[in-house]
Point group: D3
Chain length 213, copies 6
């Protein structure tokens, strides 16, 4: 029989965070380092994220910067199914077409205006788009391709977005398609996009050099 | 055999929103009115919520005002597991101890500072609390009692919170315990709170008259 | 490539219980110690709980005693989403207002009678209550505040309850609000309950000294 | 645009139960009749099940009687993932080998003793069994074949069981295999059970006439 | 009180398929027409799909043809979380880069060879690819961009794929990005793909005219 | 505070497969050996399963052979909820009545014909059966007893089946009931199947000696 004394106490907070002293290597549970439930503190549910501060968008070719607070940033989010992000947009900047494989997104505009949209599945591929002003809210359903664009040539924009997963993932379409490492065969992409292979090669050269989130 | 032609087309977006013309009464699915998938538009994923605008906190005895954007406000959220809220706090105002029966919450401070916390389950009932400044982030795990308090006697505070359900629900502890309709027997409450029944009666009188969310 | 020989066999019962010999410290999975699937026996699905025996209710200020059989008691419950409890009520005893953050409860009365109820979410906060006789059944939906009270001044009562989680958690409202460790600021509680801070201080003194489930 | 006024209010209790007046035929949601959320009362979470009363086991060839309280009996259980049962066993009676396709079961003995067990999946097919006395608890994991048998030739036994679904389903192996309507081909069963077809035919004759739960 | 007689019996198969005679318009549940559980037959779990027969790939610009058996084809799949597909590939044909917003895919090659791959999320965007021969198996995790390409210039290829949803959805990247209706602003796409707007316009012209799955 | 540097990077693919170097014993997560996310390759999502090759059915008393590709075979399937199988049937061979405790199955015939069926839950126990020809598709809902039989006395048959779990489990009814180790008491089985104990003993002797999947 399994002695009940051999169980560590499971504390009130679902053992979201636990730790295990085993030599120097930490143990992963659900892909994350664990912490002794008794050692959990308020800090494990907190991040000094400075989501109020503008982020630099100059390093981004597309003019945006996503600051995501997910389970890699707040260990206590593990299993809890939610994360939060601030997105900064340069004038004419955008969060280019992308998907979240494991989350729906709900977004509100803090500053400026945003032209946003998502495209439905095959075969319709309908675009649902909207120009959002400050304080307005839009929803991007799980797994669908969506984007936000700041149409103002002079002013930046800012949004807060929430996602229905502690680890939503993000796949920027252009980067994933033309900038994967290694590259997808240009035969495949030329046929998919109905273009010449040299066009694909040129596109891949753009993204290979500078593939960041 | 079921003729396949008798199925309405299931559009790309999961038939989140559908509608059914049946006499005058609408049909509920998942508790909500349905809409013909073909009639779904971007408006079903949008709300002109004005989350950028300060809300009046004067009508609230506790000095706060929660503006929740859930599936009752954006029909397209149905089944998608997320909602968003703006919370305004008067100077010394609070979002009093409450729980969300079906959601975890992640919150960031837009303006001011907030003293926030949650209490773990029996038997520990540990308080995890923190004073949050602008831009900082905190997580309140599903079903646990939590609160936010604006300790500043002069300035209001504002937060944005996301919840991991399209219909998270909220239960203000004081109102649910002392202000339910009808009232919980004062025998029950006197013993639970270890006070005289007349104390319970007095508390119930406070909440009966003014029970709002 | 990952050699298939490097996988331990996953036995028929979902590896609910597994164990790992690593120095002296056990490994947690899902927050629990693991056991080698091959070493699992009927004992891992069994507890000599003596749920037929009356429990002492004298140590409880509120006159009740909950004997919960969850995953901490039966390791084999891990991931299976259910637990079982016996609740003893002294004459005029009660299981005071509480919530289960992760479970719905279904209860039947074995002995005596019980006045039971739950309160719905904001803004209605409707009380659904009922006096249950022996053999009758009541449901308390997930996350809602509920209670059971034995109105009989002479006879004890007994109930069996089942919960839809292997680790439902329980939050006694009075204890969590007034007896947390450390205490919630009396500023917060005074405003929430619409009472003087000295009333809060007095309540906190009651619960701080004796906070058990 | 979908007018928000066209949504019925979604009350605090998840619209577990709703109703729709449409001609004479009721509307099914999740397979059940719906009720207007505003019309929900405590009765929708209650059943006068008389689970304290012995059930007749004389009508049963196997000497048992299962009284299940599921969503067909308590409408308020819809979506909440739990149900409760009382099982009566005649002397030497049994709840014969069966599975629940959608639920784990946890059981405690109220009266008498029970020899209980479950069999793990292929290829091991290990039997985990135990003789339970009054007050002891056993778990039957989801989908596995299990049984309870009252080994006492003189005294009845009684158990309370909880299941992790509001509609767990039950499949009595002998009845489903030999008593289905219409019958499974005896070619199939003769080969499966490694017996002559006439043996299968004889078994099918037993169950065809008397197939009840 | 809700009379239990007002509930239709919930049959053993989860009321996967039900139907409701209400004037001429059918009622949707979970987005699908419902059928009286008593009227369900084996036909509701069957499709004469002819998945053994080669499909024409000549109508497809990319040289492939997906025959998907999902809940729109077999009503009985509702809520059961799985679907099946046959995919035909012309010589040098491909199932171009696409995602399934709600499903993982597992595929095996029936005829020919396939160069297959998927790209991981930001920021790595690693390509995991493999040339599959007849009988080999590959997995494409939920929501990730993936493709299959028949590298043989003379022979067709065939695969069978299973998906972990009764309605997985599919989003062909090129069609969704360049062929949505209406089109995504070329400002957005030019910046996202780091190309001239006229290149975008030209691409959009390709896909607008011929956008099918 | 938990240093964020103590977290291993969670790669894009959900850390489906991870590994931990701890002395000689591997760590189980979700019952499986883990692999460093950085070390994951395409091979972790691949199996050279040769599902195109006929399997020997001569070793099987019932004339069938199931080749299952689940998470034990492809580590990358962990958490993804799907698996795939090839089933070979000898002339007059069968996949005897069995259940999958955690999965629905969808099947298509590659070669030959199959008489297939499933039986619904108590109390109806309706048999839904069908003779399937090449290319046709059938669904077996989760947890229900089902079978496939090759009625052709001369030709083998082949099917491909997909299951909605990475570890569906399988319980062959005859083997689990009459061939468990140790055996179920013949008192229990004699009553359940309404036969003499000596018949049960004889059946148990058949299965005890040769219990394989």
């Amino acid at each position: 029989k399994m002695a009940s004394s051999s169980f560590l106490l499971f504390t009130a907070i679902l053992a979201l965070v636990s730790w295990q002293a085993l030599a120097s290597d930490p143990v992963l549970v659900n892909g994350f380092v664990c912490k002794d439930p008794k050692a959990v503190t308020a800090e494990d549910f907190f991040l000094a994220a400075k989501l109020d501060m503008p982020r630099d968008t100059k390093m981004s070719k597309v003019g945006s910067n996503v600051t995501l607070v997910n389970v890699m940033k707040i260990a206590g989010l593990n299993t809890l199914g939610i994360s939060l992000a601030r997105i900064d947009y340069a004038p004419l900047g955008e969060n280019p077409p992308h998907t979240h494989p494991r989350a729906t997104e709900i977004l509100t505009v803090l500053e400026g205006t945003l032209y946003v949209g998502f495209v439905t599945s095959n075969p319709e591929n309908k675009l649902f788009s909207k120009e959002l002003r400050k304080g307005e809210v839009f929803v991007f359903p799980q797994g669908l391709i969506h984007f936000q664009f700041n149409p103002n040539p002079y002013k930046p924009a800012v949004a807060i977005a929430a996602l229905s997963s502690q680890n939503p993932g993000a796949i920027s379409i252009a980067n994933a398609v033309f900038g994967s490492k290694p590259m997808i065969s240009d035969d495949v992409l030329a046929k998919a996009f109905q273009v010449e292979k040299k066009t694909v090669d040129w596109l891949q050269a753009q993204f290979w050099a500078d593939n960041h989130n």
